[in-house]
Amino acid sequence: MSLARHWRLRDQRYRLEGTACDDCGTIQFPPRPLCPNCRSRTLSPHPLDGRGQLISYTVLYQAPAGFEAQIPYAVGIVELGEGPRLTAMLTDVDLDALQIGMSLEMTIRKLRSDGDDGVIQYGYKFRPVQFEGA
């Protein structure tokens, strides 16, 4: 991934910044220029708090180029407390203990050991909630 692209996505990768529609209140992640619910064009940045639950998951044994060194690894769809869903690598978890419905929280990790241009990319991954109620 190009440097410019990674830089452009930094607020999403590091802070889970989405958008909230000023007209209907719907929250989106990733950010959108138009509200998919009411087509309003007035949306404001809206950081998400990074907690959610697992909707589905898979453990990959064959990886796309750039991820071969990490197999086997888990990727899941997480539904955040505010509503939006995202795809993330799952970390700090026993691959046999993954369960749909489990509570997860965001953490920042290295996404790829080596990008196309040699830059190490960081971004969100999700792990089981460590301290309930914290």
Binding site: T58, V59, P64, A88
Partner: protein, 387 residues
């Protein structure tokens, strides 16, 4: 829109074609279709393809293939919609002839996937998903299908072994299809023992990557009646879309693109579900076969597998699917697949399917080509032409 027909079909065997390049593969299918139609040219060429840029460092396929096929000078463009590219190219041919802009249009799908290192091919195929928000998280295209299957097992509480029915049936059909990639049957035990690729999807849940090209010739029904006694009517070819990223769908187990495309196609064709005699569906993964049947309205939600177990979708069932082996066993040369489906449906309606695959008295056929995990869906309905 004018009434349309398919008057010629062509296909190359699906498999590893290391000795042949993209342009030769496409040319072979184009001329097989034109020869079949008894024509010596066309007004327009629409080339379905997904990955020529990544796999062969080749863009600009429209003009390149038109020239190589000795059709230089005609209108020719590439159409891309991930694994739905070929039927999307057919849609362009339908619009071109249906509008009167062209008298004869050829749609060809062509793909070569077998000559790059597997990790590079895996990364390229993953481009069907969201490049900003799915791929950087290490997701592969099989991984996308696996997220659907895991959710299916959880929500519908079915045993994973129940999915074996789809690949077993596909292989059983493909053994009789001379163009198929896998021509040997598989057993439930082989399915149970198959290597995991992205859990819960194993090697036998997944269609194989392949090389191949398939083409059809489209013209008006009026002209087809004069030119050929083997033409089939092209009643509908309709596109529906959904979000590219799986996580943007509130309900993972309902393919809205499939529902939209199917409804549009049935309405355009003036047909009801009960009138469809066979369904060439997009079984890229066994779970996609189940979800397609449900979202298209051929089985209730969560019941695609129960109907399959009863034999509803086998050769003698109420709606035979993947009659020549489907993506699973005929093979899945992604940007060509949608036209293999249409070629196979046409063979069925002409009564030219290899025995014992011929569906007796097949009159109306549906083919459905899916891009990504359901983001682009093209549904084509064909009907046997009477007298």
């Amino acid at each position: 829109m004018k009434e349309l027909a398919i008057i010629g079909i062509g296909q190359t065997p699906v498999g590893e074609h290391w000795a042949v390049g993209l342009r030769d593969l496409a040319t072979e299918a184009i001329w097989a279709a034109l020869d079949d139609a008894g024509l010596d040219g066309a007004d327009a060429l629409f080339v379905g393809n997904m990955l020529s840029g990544e796999m062969a460092q080749q863009a600009h396929l429209g003009a390149l293939i038109a020239d190589h096929a000795a059709l230089a000078g005609i209108e020719a463009v590439k159409v891309e919609a991930a694994c739905g590219a070929a039927a999307a190219a057919l849609r362009q041919a339908v619009l071109a002839v249906g509008s009167g802009a062209a008298e004869v249009a050829v749609a060809v799908g062509v793909e070569k996937l077998t000559e790059q290192p597997p990790a590079d091919t895996t990364a390229a195929l993953a481009m069907a998903a969201d490049g900003d928000y799915e791929l950087p998280m290490g997701l592969s295209f099989v991984g996308v299908g696996a997220l659907l299957m895991q959710r299916y097992l959880y929500e519908h509480r079915v045993p994973k072994e129940a999915f074996a029915r789809f690949p077993i049936q596909a292989h059983d059909n493909a053994q009789h299809n001379p163009h198929a990639m896998f021509r040997s049957p598989i057993t439930a035990q082989q399915y149970a023992d198959a290597k995991m690729i992205a859990s819960p999807i194993n090697l036998l849940d997944s269609s194989p990557i392949a090389d191949g090209a398939a083409a059809v010739v489209v013209t008006t029904a009026e002209r087809a009646r004069r030119l050929s006694d083997r033409a089939v009517r092209l009643l509908a070819c309709e596109v529906g879309t959904d979000t590219v990223a799986l996580h943007d769908r509130a309900d993972l187990l309902w393919l809205k693109g499939v529902e939209r495309s199917t409804k549009k196609a049935l309405a355009r064709a003036g047909k009801r579900h009960e009138e469809i005699d066979l369904f060439e569906l997009h079984d890229a993964f066994s779970v996609i076969a189940a979800l397609s049947l449900e979202s298209a309205g051929f089985a209730e939600r969560g019941c695609g597998l129960c109907h399959a177990q009863r034999g509803d979708f086998g050769r003698g069932g109420r709606l035979p699917i993947a009659t020549m082996g489907g993506l699973k066993a005929r093979g899945h040369p992604v940007g060509a697949t949608g036209l293999y489906q249409v070629v196979e449906a046409t063979l069925q309606l002409r009564g030219e399917a290899p025995e014992p695959l011929q569906i007796p008295d097949a009159r109306v056929a549906m083919a459905q080509n899916i891009g990504g995990s359901g983001a682009t869906v093209v549904t084509t309905i064909l009907e046997r032409m009477e007298g």
